[in-house]
């Protein structure tokens, strides 16, 4: 899938981010992301995976313009990211729809902010609600939807803005296995149809490998790039495919290695629990 003829749309260069950690009396600089560099091609579907709490979500927040960073560069289509606009839209794991609006009004929200006229707005909203197969629910209130439907509306709301890049921060993490499967298929279809550039963070190895053109594996905190895998396979992918399972297994090994390394690192302090997520 990755091909030289695609243009680079996003370049992350030597990105570094730290939090000031207030740990009782002593303040220390906690490095969350350290020297991360990678490129994303136009139309590419990149998944990012790493141990829990490694800083992958922080990375996405930074790219979305919601958090600051210490040093490095983030370049989108040749421009450094400035004040956020709807060029890069992020979709969260938590429920993020506005409960005071209907489904349609939620999808229209960003368009309204951009000052797009009402008729045009309605047309675009309808188009994306149809894309996520929720036309029957356009006038429903958010609380009447199931968890999976809410995430589909959030995806429609993001796509309606026609962003250059769609960031997804563990978007299906709070859903049950079956719904998650359905939405994974839907995201793949949407990617096929819209050719959007997608950067997708997950802690589910199987999800990362079955969705991504490329899987970036992060180390445990501070997040560094440990390994990248190119998954050059036709979609929809067969989860029983030996090549796919091969990649899944080797990523699982890498992450297990990270978590054990992490456990050894934090043994003396014993105050940071290590969760093994694979």
């Amino acid at each position: 899938m990755m091909n030289e003829k695609f243009d680079k749309i996003l370049e992350v260069d030597k990105l570094r981010k730290s939090h000031l950690n207030h740990d009782g009396a002593n303040k220390e600089d906690l490095v969350v992301i350290d020297d991360v560099s990678f490129d994303v091609q136009e139309g590419e579907f990149v998944t990012i995976i790493g141990p829990s709490g490694c800083g992958k979500s922080t990375l996405l927040s930074i790219i979305a313009g919601l958090e600051s960073y210490d040093s490095g560069d983030i370049v989108v289509k040749g421009h450094r990211i400035g004040p956020t606009g709807p060029d890069i839209v992020i979709i969260f794991q938590e429920e993020s729809l506005f409960p005071w609006l209907t489904v349609e009004e939620n999808v229209e929200f960003g368009l309204k902010q951009k000052g797009i006229p009402k008729e045009e707005r309605k047309r675009i909203a309808r188009e994306y609600i149809e894309l996520v197969e929720l036309t029957a629910f356009a006038q429903s209130r958010v609380h009447q939807l199931s968890g999976g439907m809410k995430q589909r509306v959030a995806i429609a709301r993001g796509l309606a803005l026609n962003p250059r890049i769609l960031l997804m921060d563990e978007p299906f993490g709070a859903l049950d296995a079956r719904t998650r499967q359905i939405l994974q298929n839907e995201v793949q279809e949407i990617h096929e149809k819209t050719k959007k550039t997608i950067l997708f963070v997950t802690h589910d190895v199987r999800e990362a490998v079955s969705l991504g053109d490329r899987v970036i594996v992060f180390t445990s905190r501070p997040a560094r790039i440990k390994q990248q895998y190119i998954v050059d396979m036709q979609r929809p992918r067969d989860s029983e495919d030996p090549a796919l399972i091969g990649i899944i297994n080797s990523i699982m090994r890498e992450i297990k290695e990270e978590t054990t390394l992490d456990a050894e690192k934090s043994k003396p302090t014993e105050n940071s629990p290590v969760r093994i997520t694979v």
């Binding site: 992020i90 969260f92 929720l134 209130r141 958010v142 609380h143």
Partner: protein
């Protein structure tokens, strides 16, 4: 397709059943109120019939209501209700507008908010009647004095409610808005206000009730301007229990109508849109 249809059915049946429930709930509320009023009047009549108190001290419901009718006929009731409601609406409006503005400033400037919120909490529990001497001396025995007591007794509640409801907005809404490029003024109008609406409606109700309590108390002590408090005051001065009870009935009805029929309706409609339970009816 099939999935969609079955989901739609579920949603439809859910919304239908919730509508039914709401209708039923409203009906029983009115019935309950009617029963409660009936029981109250019955006990009142019984105490009257048993002659626990002499009839000039405790009139029967019929006598009290006939006094109410006389007051209404000679126009003094209409005048009093008009004056009191006029002050109430004015004071309430001032409290809501200024309280909301200061509350928003408090949530915007953290240090100001922290200082003001403890200050507000102290002033909020300060008895409204205790402001009356201060108001009389500094402003005078007039409508402005009354307005001052009303506003000072209710504005802090509005401030602190606004401050808290803005602070309680789930951060995810603000993140989404920021990511979509929503800027300050627009953020306030299209995200922060609607997001805090359920709590703000409760705040309105509370501010109304604080203003109402303060006003009647202040009117009674002022005793010179036309109003329901004045009717009560003179009723008590001239041992006119009929007038006292008649006025109390009017005060009850106004409070009840405002709270149940205006504020609760508003609150229920805001909450049910978002699938939140009604706080008071169920």
């Amino acid at each position: 397709m099939q999935r969609n249809q079955s989901q739609q059915k579920i949603v439809q049946s859910e919304s239908q059943s919730s509508q039914k429930k709401q209708k039923g709930r409203g009906y029983t509320t009115y019935l309950d109120v009617a029963i409660a009023i009936g029981v109250f009047l019955g006990v009142w009549q019984l105490v009257f019939d048993l002659k626990v108190y002499p009839s000039f001290l405790l009139p029967s419901p019929a006598i009290a209501f006939s006094r109410l009718l006389t007051l209404a006929e000679n126009g003094s009731l209409g005048l009093a209700v008009g004056a009191t409601l006029g002050r109430l609406v004015a004071g309430f409006t001032i409290s809501v507008i200024s309280g909301t503005i200061v509350g928003l400033l408090m949530s915007n400037f953290r240090r100001f908010g922290k200082t003001m919120s403890s200050f507000c909490l102290g002033l909020q529990s300060f008895p409204s009647i205790a402001w009356v001497p201060f108001a009389i001396l500094i402003i005078g025995l007039n409508n402005y004095g009354l307005l001052f007591v009303m506003v000072i007794s209710s504005v802090f509640s509005m401030m602190i409610s606004t401050y808290n409801s803005v602070r309680n907005i789930p951060p995810i809404y603000l993140k989404v808005a920021k990511n979509m490029g929503v800027r300050r003024v627009s953020l306030l109008r299209s995200v922060m206000l609607p997001a805090s609406m359920p709590q703000m409606v409760t705040a309105l109700r509370q501010t109304w009730s604080f203003s109402w309590h303060a006003l009647i108390g202040a009117e009674m002590i002022f005793g010179i301007s036309v109003g329901l408090g004045e009717l009560l005051y003179y009723g008590s001065e001239f041992s006119e229990m009929n007038q006292v009870i008649a006025t109390m009935i009017v005060i009850f009805v106004i409070g009840f109508v405002a709270d149940r029929l205006v504020f609760q309706r508003l609150e229920d409609s805001v909450r049910s849109k978002r699938g939140l339970m009604s706080q008071f009816t169920n």
